[in-house]
């Protein structure tokens, strides 16, 4: 009984300052207009991408050959049945764009998660233990840097097949180097700090030092880097899709919509313009947020 109260207070004591710190950080981030605007925009995009079937339940695959190349509603010949027009098979462009957003966002965020996890482990161990392990990991990183990235992803996808899972794995695993290097750098300097030495001196095991004392201190560069990389991954995903190596049909993706629309560039401008605008808007809001986060959390990363 007595012991229980002791545990309760200690948990409370641990959590309160952290919550306060998080709230302060959040306020600091929100003070940057770019972070605020970008954050609101990307939140809206994610919400729409998740919740649109509630408002706009149109099948993205249903074809209506009579409605082929219907232009968007504001153009002559357009109609509210196809607010953003119809494609070469008479499929609803708006609905396809909305479904496509799910692929891009899912692949973007999940691949960055994979890359971060791989990068965190390799970077932490490389920086903390140093020595042979460190030079091995960093040499492999050098090799990965020199490997033509696009060719790596294309050839691996050609081997494994282009499921959404493979795509996330491949894009994530080929992007670990940046994270590992950033973290390794931070760890090298943190390792020399007094609080780490003190913790080691009282006999804390390495494992605990790494995850309790060092990891929390590299979170903010990771957050900044991760946000900016999501934007890159989404561009790569749409590029792969454009080449026909993205998420397989019939799932609509922005990249494939572009590739298909390109064939009708002379007659149907909306088929090539709108998916690109969707990609750009998404990337733009993520970049805005990333820039704001970087300014607020980690000014040292300005050059990335």
């Amino acid at each position: 009984m007595n012991q229980q109260t002791v545990v309760k207070t200690s948990i409370f004591e641990v959590i309160t300052p952290r919550l306060r710190f998080m709230a302060e950080t959040l306020r600091e981030v929100a003070r940057r207009p770019s972070a605020l605007v970008g954050g609101i925009m990307i939140t809206a995009i994610v919400l729409i991408s998740v919740g649109f079937p509630l408002f706009y339940a149109v099948d993205p695959l249903e074809q209506d050959l009579l409605a082929r190349f219907t232009p968007p509603v504001w153009q002559q010949g357009g109609s509210w049945v196809y607010p953003l027009g119809a494609d070469n098979l008479g499929r609803d462009v708006l609905s396809r764009l909305l479904y496509g957003s799910r692929v891009s966002l899912l692949v973007g965020f999940a691949a960055v998660l994979v890359a971060e996890l791989a990068g965190i482990f390799l970077g932490l161990f490389s920086g903390y233990y140093g020595g042979k392990l460190d030079s091995l990991i960093m040499r492999v990183a050098d090799i990965f840097m020199a490997y033509p990235f696009m060719l790596l992803t294309i050839s691996v996808i050609a081997v494994l097949g282009n499921s959404i899972f493979n795509l996330i794995l491949v894009l994530g695993l080929s992007d670990w180097v940046t994270y590992a290097r950033t973290i390794r750098g931070s760890v090298l300097s943190l390792k020399e700090k007094e609080f780490v030495e003190a913790s080691r001196a009282i006999g804390t095991p390495h494992r605990v030092v790494i995850f309790r004392h060092i990891l929390p201190n590299v979170i903010s560069p990771l957050l900044v880097l991760g946000t900016l990389r999501v934007a890159n991954i989404i561009i790569w995903e749409s590029g792969l899709s454009f080449l026909g190596m993205g998420v397989p049909p019939p799932m609509p993706t922005w990249g494939r919509m572009l590739a298909e629309g390109r064939l009708y560039i002379t007659d149907a401008w909306w088929l090539v313009t709108l998916p690109g605008l969707a990609i750009m808007l998404t990337i733009f809001s993520i970049n805005l947020l990333g820039d704001g986060l970087r300014d607020a959390l980690d000014p040292r990363l300005r050059n990335i």
């Binding site: 050098d142 020199a146 696009m150 590029g239 750009m280 733009f284």
Partner: protein, 308 residues
């Protein structure tokens, strides 16, 4: 100095060996090209014979060693699909890709550096905010989409520029602008932030207080020091650029290595893919090597004797 040079050379060697190993194993995982090479009604015996003849039945490390040995002698084997030496095909296409990459890099630098400098000098002005917002848009635009938009506007609507192919300067404009725009955005932001940093340093104040003209302070004193990070990033990006021409070459039907490699991957043309990956990696490493050597010229402060 010599020691540093050797260290850098060793670095280039192990990176190239590493890339060749990775590409070799990846490509060999991707399946057997023999079936694609023979007519559909080939007998089992014929398939086996061809596999034996091409050495696909040997253990994979033996195949790698054989490949590496030949590569060292400059032989990269024959393309299985085109039936000519892989190197010949690459050398035929490489100039087109290099031309595109160099043009994109030049356009990016020529536009971005002045914008970055002016934005840094006039920090917070409308010009600064406008160009930085523009740069953020540039970073957010997928280059292949930009390419398609350019085609739609300048070829389809206005009829000013050819939609695809290579040959004249007019052919080069759209693909290189499309490929260079995001680099332009990146360089403009980089130049601005580095210039801001440099301009706040003491020696700049000294130069100004000596009564030097602002133009001289900026171009001679500040920009020279801002060059170092710019050169590093430009070098790195040039390596990526060559690998990144894959999509833009498809959009503009540009006869470069990028299109060649995509076809080769689809055709399971092992020797060709391997040779291309190696050539691109060698170029990447070589450019970075040159950049490192440039440092010595740009920044005499960097010491190459520290770890004896």
């Amino acid at each position: 100095m010599l020691q540093y040079l050797f260290k850098r050379l060793w670095h280039t060697v192990y990176v190239i060996i590493g890339v060749s190993v990775i590409s070799f194993f990846f490509i060999h995982l991707s399946g057997d090209p023999v079936m694609l090479m023979l007519p559909g009604d080939a007998s089992h015996q014929e398939i086996e014979d061809l596999r034996e003849q091409l050495g696909f039945n040997d253990p994979i490390y033996e195949q790698y060693l054989r490949f590496a040995g030949q590569a060292l002698r400059g032989e990269f084997g024959h393309s299985l699909y085109y039936k000519v030496p892989a190197m010949e095909l690459i050398l035929e296409r490489l100039p087109a890709s290099l031309e595109l990459a160099v043009a994109a890099m030049l356009i990016a630098l020529v536009v971005a550096v002045p914008i970055g400098i002016i934005s840094a000098v006039r920090r917070g002005s409308l010009l600064d905010m406008g160009s930085m917002l523009g740069a953020l848009f540039g970073l957010s635009m997928p280059h292949f989409w930009l390419g398609i938009m350019l085609i739609m506007i300048f070829s389809v609507k206005l009829g000013w520029l050819p939609t695809s192919g290579r040959g004249t300067l007019a052919h080069l404009i759209m693909p290189s602008v499309a490929l260079g725009l995001s680099l332009m955005a990146m360089f403009a932001r980089l130049t601005r932030s580095v210039m801001l940093e440099v301009l706040s340093l003491d020696y700049i104040r000294t130069a100004r207080s000596k009564g030097l003209k602002e133009r001289i302070v900026i171009s001679k004193h500040a920009f020279k020091n801002a060059l170092i990070p710019l050169v590093t990033v430009a070098g790195m990006q040039f390596g990526f650029l060559l690998g990144g021409t894959v999509i833009i070459e498809t959009v503009f039907a540009w006869p470069g290595v990028g299109r060649l490699v995509v076809q080769a991957i689809f055709n399971r043309d092992y020797p060709l893919v391997q040779a291309i990956v190696l050539v691109l990696a060698v170029i990447f490493v070589a450019v970075n090597f040159i950049v490192d050597m440039l440092y010595m010229y740009l920044d005499p402060q960097i010491s190459y004797f520290e770890d004896k």
